[in-house]
């Protein structure tokens, strides 16, 4: 019933810059929804429009059944973590955290109880009496997060709430957020440009590109079936390999390899996509062998990435065991799982068909 729905929402800034372009989105009640995209793609703008901090240029925003375009932010009952924290510079950490509770007249003891809970969760206890100017970036970010978590809103809107934390703290916070989400069951819209964050936390991910929605779906769905080459390269690390190919006579030809397809698909120039883990050095059954030559092996620790060059000079990456030893320049035969292969239109970049 507190579904958040954007219908054809567009934001054009005063300078004529269109930051969000005709976005349609439905965020279900209680969902952990992640907005993922590169810097400047319009994630913050989208979130701020939902919160009411930016007027919507055209289109409609609904929360539940109610159209919210003109509703004042204070009447939307949303908690927000700002990308730049937006702490109250004149208040201590404690003052910042309790600002909203005081405003809403939460009784003193209750305030203290909830404050203690959040302080412990975010590790803020030592800093309660400091002003924001005396905190590090990560500490400020935790205060900003804490301020939101002390609310019981219709939804939490988090704009890159973990961007400034160190890797360890970030991982810890991810878990905390997911736990919190499970416990309170409120809708969370979480903005990030970190795909790991998106993959690990989201119920569904929306990938934005240039102000438009590129794809919405469950993490694995988006990972496996990217809707276009942008999503394909923006997800996964290293990203999906894209090589040029041709669709002809019911088969796709690329890098001197040929893979027969369903007759349904047409003919023309295509981009062929496959993820690094869909290749193997070993010739497993039903795999398509492709000839390549070794460029380099980059060790990651748990495993390594083999960079190889295909006939025609296109480079691909492939996940291999950490102890793989290969001489640069030596020929190598790699084996592709044909079921995982994806085709995109060379012109539009859109996915063409799902393979059988």
């Amino acid at each position: 019933m507190t579904e958040i729905r954007l219908a054809n929402v567009t934001k054009t800034y005063a300078g004529g810059q269109t930051a969000v372009d005709a976005v349609d989105l439905t965020i279900h009640d209680g969902e952990f929804f992640v907005l993922l995209g590169p810097s400047g793609c319009g994630k913050s703008t989208t979130l701020r429009m939902i919160a009411g901090l930016e007027p919507i240029s055209s289109g409609d925003l609904f929360i539940g059944e109610r159209r919210m375009n003109e509703v004042d932010p204070k009447d939307r009952d949303l908690a927000f973590v700002f990308q730049n924290y937006a702490l109250f510079p004149h208040l201590t950490v404690k003052g910042n955290l309790t600002f909203g509770m005081k405003l809403r007249g939460v009784p003193g003891p209750e305030q203290e109880r909830r404050l203690a809970e959040v302080t412990v969760m975010l590790g803020l206890a030592p800093y309660l009496d400091r002003k924001p100017g005396q905190l590090s970036g990560g500490q400020r970010q935790r205060v900003a997060l804490g301020r939101a978590l002390l609310r019981d809103p219709v939804a939490f809107l988090l704009d890159e709430p973990l961007s400034n934390l160190d890797a360890k703290l970030r991982a810890q916070m991810r878990t905390e957020l997911v736990k919190l989400h499970r416990r309170v069951g409120r809708t969370i819209i979480h903005v990030t440009h970190d795909q790991i964050e998106a993959m690990t936390m989201a119920d569904r991910i929306c990938i934005m590109h240039d102000g438009k929605v590129a794809q919405v779906g469950a993490p694995m769905e988006v990972y496996r079936n990217p809707a276009d080459t942008f999503v394909a390269t923006f997800t996964g690390s290293p990203p999906m390999n894209l090589v040029q190919g041709r669709l002809e006579n019911g088969a796709v030809h690329f890098a001197e390899a040929t893979l027969p397809l369903d007759a349904r698909t047409g003919a023309g120039e295509v981009t062929v996509g496959f993820r690094p883990e869909d290749l193997s050095l070993a010739a497993l059954p039903n795999r398509l062998p492709i000839q390549a030559s070794v460029v380099a092996v980059e060790t990651l620790g748990a495993d390594a990435i083999l960079v190889a060059s295909l006939a025609g000079g296109q480079e691909i990456g492939m996940r291999v065991a950490a102890d793989t030893q290969l001489e640069p320049g030596s020929p190598v035969s790699v084996h592709l799982d044909p079921n995982r292969l994806r085709l995109f239109d060379r012109q539009t970049g859109k996915a063409i068909a799902r393979m059988a």
């Binding site: 919160a51 009411g52 901090l53 004042d72 932010p73 204070k74 009447d75 939307r76 009952d77 949303l78 908690a79 927000f80 700002f82 730049n84 924290y85 937006a86 702490l87 109250f88 510079p89 004149h90 208040l91 600002f99 909203g100 405003l103 809403r104 301020r147 609310r151």
Partner: protein
Amino acid sequence: MICVGAATFAAAAPTLRAGPPAVDGQPSPQPEDKLFMTAAIAQRDRWFGFAMTLPGLFALVLVVLFPILFTLWTSTSDFTLLKPSNDAFVGLSHYTQAFATPEFRHALSVTLAFVVAVVILEFLVGFAVALALDKVEHGKAVYYLILLFPLLMNPIVVGLIWKMFLHPTLGIVNYVLSLVGIPPVDWLGVPDNAFWTVVAVDIWHQVSFMIVLLLAGLASLPKEPYEAARLEGAGTIRCFFWITLPLMRPVIVVTLLIRLIFAVKTYDIIYIMTRGGPGQATELVSYYIYRRAFVGLDVSQASAMAVILLLAVLALTAWLHRYMRSLAQ
């Protein structure tokens, strides 16, 4: 072995430097030596820094302190325009004389009332206007220009214009009032009216100062805390009291202080509009001290009064500053 070495060191130490005496044959430990050296460097740096500030300090003393010291000196001697020299020392008699002068005490109390009235009213009006203007999106430059206009006017001109406007029978103000059936008001001919008229004219003249400073302050406030507060559910009034006011505090303090100090020095408007009258209703202390020196020819007495005024303003400034700081806690 170690003890022997230490003893030699201790014996040698006093000739090297006047360090702390070694206790029980133990030499002062090594780190203290380093400390001594860094302290010496710090000392040298301090002297260097001090030397670098000397020219500036000298200029400051010359420009700021000298006239004040001269005033102090004059106030303890017997300098009149007829005998312009500072050679006779009379102690603090001019100070006791000042407090024994009913007119001076009266002028001080009128000035206090005037300063409190104009500073508070100008602040309230100025803040309200600044808040309203802060929301204006188009034509801000035009507003600024119009607002700056009175401020750019010479106070003498302001006084003359308003004296003309407020002329009880020939002025435009009473004429306009008569159009809506209000009988003519004697703006300057009745003591109480005159005081408030002068206050009002000063507000007209100086309120822009407050507006412009406060507006600059408001414009420089970060936007984000407001967004955060609105999302927390704060309305306009809460935002004002919980965010704007505390964030503006430094600007407010400075604005109030500057305005307060200038208000104490108000002189021209009085000179043009009322000459301290009717009766003694607008007898501001700056104008009184001026007359004491140049009409009464009694420069030393006037200096003593000026020093008293200076001390009063200093005390007021310090108090306001501390009060405002205590509000912050």
